[in-house]
Amino acid sequence: MGDFFKWSRVWEYFPKILSKFPITLEIVLGSFAIGLVLGSIIALIKINKIPVLCQLGSIYISYIRGTPILVQLFIAYYGIPVFVNSVLHIDVNGWDKMVYVYMAYGFNQAGFLAEIIRGAIISVDAVQTEAGYSVGMTGAQTFFRIVLPQATRIALPPMGTTFITLFRSTALAYMLGIMDIMGKAKNLGVTTFHTLEGYVDATIIFVITSIILEQIFNLLNKRLDYGKGRVVKQRKEVAAK
């Protein structure tokens, strides 16, 4: 391989690239939070079938799910300033690039999370709501105390998947010049002419983080099982005897 690839450089770059991990994490957490709020709103609009908004929501979800995240990134980066300038008459010159990254990934997550949240809420058995009403709870009390906790439980596994997907897809943010893990790896490659080592480092960071995230979601899943795990355990114990 000659000088093209050296493990020593992998070790040398690693701390430099790892130092940009907080930026990636920031993008992931910020966008997920935006996605969760916006996605919940879209989900509620669709569940309650609010006219006009409901159809717009469907179109929005089709756009998000039907276009590559790269396209959405560029549309956000080049399109939002034009829109904000000409329609809202707000000067965008001072805006940080990160604003567009948050918007692109946040809006993207909103599309996916809206469908997950909607699906989870409508899959909670109607009798749960009726039972809440029958003991005299209001609609809001029933929703927040009975339906939402159960829907959260249902939504958790697919949400974990989108979260990890989001984490991986943030690698594209460097296209807008963001200095995250991928940006740093690319940057080191350009300045030292040794590109591969940086990408190996990025791979290691992404793989390990994905595994950790997966474990965290598995743990959450087990914690929030409302007794189902215990039943399985009991049955296994009985079967073992």
Binding site: V127, E130, A131, Y133, S134, V135, G136, M137, G227, V231
Partner: protein, 249 residues
């Protein structure tokens, strides 16, 4: 006292209730019988607004409510005076047995927490499931779940408990234990309206039997009147089909 006047309900073109009137005195155990699709369950669900009737009046205690256009306040008020036992138990899946009972007390009826827990333990003891207080519904058998469903209804101390076919989702083996629990409630003098297919239960417990068919009350009377001397031909036909011949002789 509860009274329903001229309740009507249609699902699309299908008229399920064609003007049903019903009177339930305090302490009454009213059993509603009738073939499938006769509107029994719909009537019960209209009573606490799980279903919105197209017309009719409900009088519960000193409150008169339009069954078609109740205010939100009236709906809540009626629901807080009634309790409902579901066919498929309707326990909150994210709450333990104890929480299932305390939830309505604490959240809807503003009972202090300690008092609610005490009450819940009392009713769990009464249905023989105090040792299951921290179990989730998914960890309990159907019979146990339904006993907790009934305990929840009793704990709310309502003016009337509405039972919607409480035994029809259970194994034949477990039906008896649930009926026993319901009989015990009857002994406590709690007002009940029970939709069921359990004829023996109706005979033993009902202070009033109502036979419904095709959205109307065909006949009503004491259990002896209905079972031993039904006046209407339709009632006779129904009973003949439901009750084994040797029982009539």
């Amino acid at each position: 006292m509860i009274e329903i006047r001229d309740a009507k309900k249609a699902f699309g073109k299908n008229e399920v209730l064609k003007g049903v009137s019903l009177k339930v005195d305090t302490g009454d155990v009213v059993v509603i019988l009738g073939p499938s699709g006769s509107g029994k369950t719909t009537l019960l669900r209209c009573l606490n607004f799980l279903e919105r009737a197209d017309a009719g009046t409900l009088i519960i205690g000193d409150e008169e409510v339009n069954l078609h256009k109740p205010s939100r306040k009236q709906i809540l008020s009626v629901r807080r005076k009634t309790a409902f036992v579901f066919q498929n138990y309707g326990l909150f899946n994210n709450k333990t047995a104890l929480q299932n009972i305390t939830e309505g007390l604490i959240v809807a009826r503003k009972v202090p927490k300690a008092e609610a827990i005490k009450k819940a333990e009392e009713v769990l003891e009464w249905v023989g499931l105090l040792d299951k207080r921290d179990y989730y519904p998914s960890q309990l058998s159907g019979g146990q779940q339904q006993r907790i469903g009934i305990a929840r209804a009793v704990a709310l101390d309502p003016e009337v408990i509405l039972f919607d076919e409480p035994t029809s989702a259970l194994d034949p083996e477990l039906v008896g234990e649930i009926l026993e629990v319901i009989k015990n409630i009857a002994k406590k003098g709690i007002t009940m309206v029970v939709v069921t297919h359990e004829m023996n239960f109706a005979k033993d417990v009902a202070s009033k039997v109502i036979f419904m068919d095709e959205g109307v009350v065909v006949e009503e009377g004491t259990s002896d009147e209905i079972f031993l001397a039904p006046k209407e031909e339709r009632t006779r036909q129904f009973l003949k089909r439901i009750i084994p011949p040797e029982y009539i002789i």
